[in-house]
């Protein structure tokens, strides 16, 4: 699947929440887009990702 614009091999049965964790992101500090649509936080769940999915994960850096 595509992760942040790069073709990435993920394990069989990888979930949204699992991918976010495995890439080292903290769920409270990211915005996630899956196949062009924003993913509400309540849906960082156990839905299984597939080969055709494209996910964009934007990590935040603090201060404003």
């Amino acid at each position: 699947m595509m992760v942040n614009g790069k073709e990435t091999a993920i394990g069989e049965g990888m979930t949204r929440a699992g991918l976010i964790d495995s890439l080292g992101y903290s769920k409270s500090r990211i915005a996630v887009e899956l196949n062009g649509s924003i993913v509400p936080r309540s849906e960082y769940d156990n839905t299984i990702l597939g080969d055709d999915d494209r996910i964009e994960i934007v990590g935040m850096v603090g201060r404003g």
Partner: protein
């Protein structure tokens, strides 16, 4: 000949800026099609002309027009009809707000939950006599001093997924200028999910030291 004089269509017999100034405002300054007329300029049909009299303090309405004398009219009307949100009034937001009022934005929606303290004064758009005041109040006063013609809507509160759509849902564009990474992520996710017609602008992690020539930019 028909021109647009100080924002209003008008017929004129004057053929040049010197004739116009001599006839209407001796000693004044003319701005023709966004450029100050340093020399005498021949006027053409449809020109946009502003006349500025340095000895006269303009009314609020006149000042509002003159602020945008150097903008092309299509830009002016776009800015004037825009509704822009700013979330957070710290180093980014307090300065963005002032720049947008100077740009002639029609309506600003601002929010912050905090009050001004002395550590803010090195970079945020506040003054010693603002210390202890809510940032929303201090910012509103500053903006009204720059120009009374931008409509300001202020919210002194903590932003939540529940109140963000009510506060910012009607904005064309919202600038995320919050402090912590968690707040930024919550705000961006909420606007993207619940305010589909609002464009969000966010700046992340732009700080540091080094040579400005070594900064590189790329798309995507």
């Amino acid at each position: 000949m028909r021109i647009v004089l100080n924002g209003t269509p008008a017929d004129t017999e004057f053929k040049s800026t010197s004739e116009l100034l001599n006839g209407m405002c001796p000693g004044g300054i003319a701005v023709v099609n966004s450029f100050t007329a340093d020399a005498d300029i021949e006027l053409s049909e449809g020109d946009s002309v502003f006349i500025l009299n340095k000895d006269h303090i303009p009314s609020e309405k006149e000042a509002d027009l003159l602020m945008s004398a150097r903008d092309p009219s299509r830009i002016r009307s776009k800015l004037r009809s825009a509704s822009i949100g700013i979330a957070g009034l710290g180093g980014l937001g307090s300065n963005i707000a002032a720049m947008l009022v100077r740009s002639g934005i029609g309506r600003l929606v601002i929010s912050d939950m905090d009050t001004v303290d002395a550590t803010n004064l090195n970079r945020q758009n506040y003054f010693y006599d603002d210390l202890g005041r809510p940032k929303t109040d201090a910012t509103e006063d500053l903006l009204k001093r720059i120009s009374p013609c931008t409509e300001i809507e202020k919210h002194q509160c903590r932003l939540t997924p529940e109140n963000i759509p009510d506060i910012y849902g009607n904005c064309d564009i919202v600038c995320e200028a919050l402090d912590s990474a968690e707040e930024k992520a919550m705000f961006i996710s909420t606007v993207l999910e619940k305010c589909p017609d609002t464009i969000i602008i966010s700046g992340l992690g732009m700080a540091g030291h080094g040579h400005s020539n070594s900064i590189t930019t790329k798309n995507g």
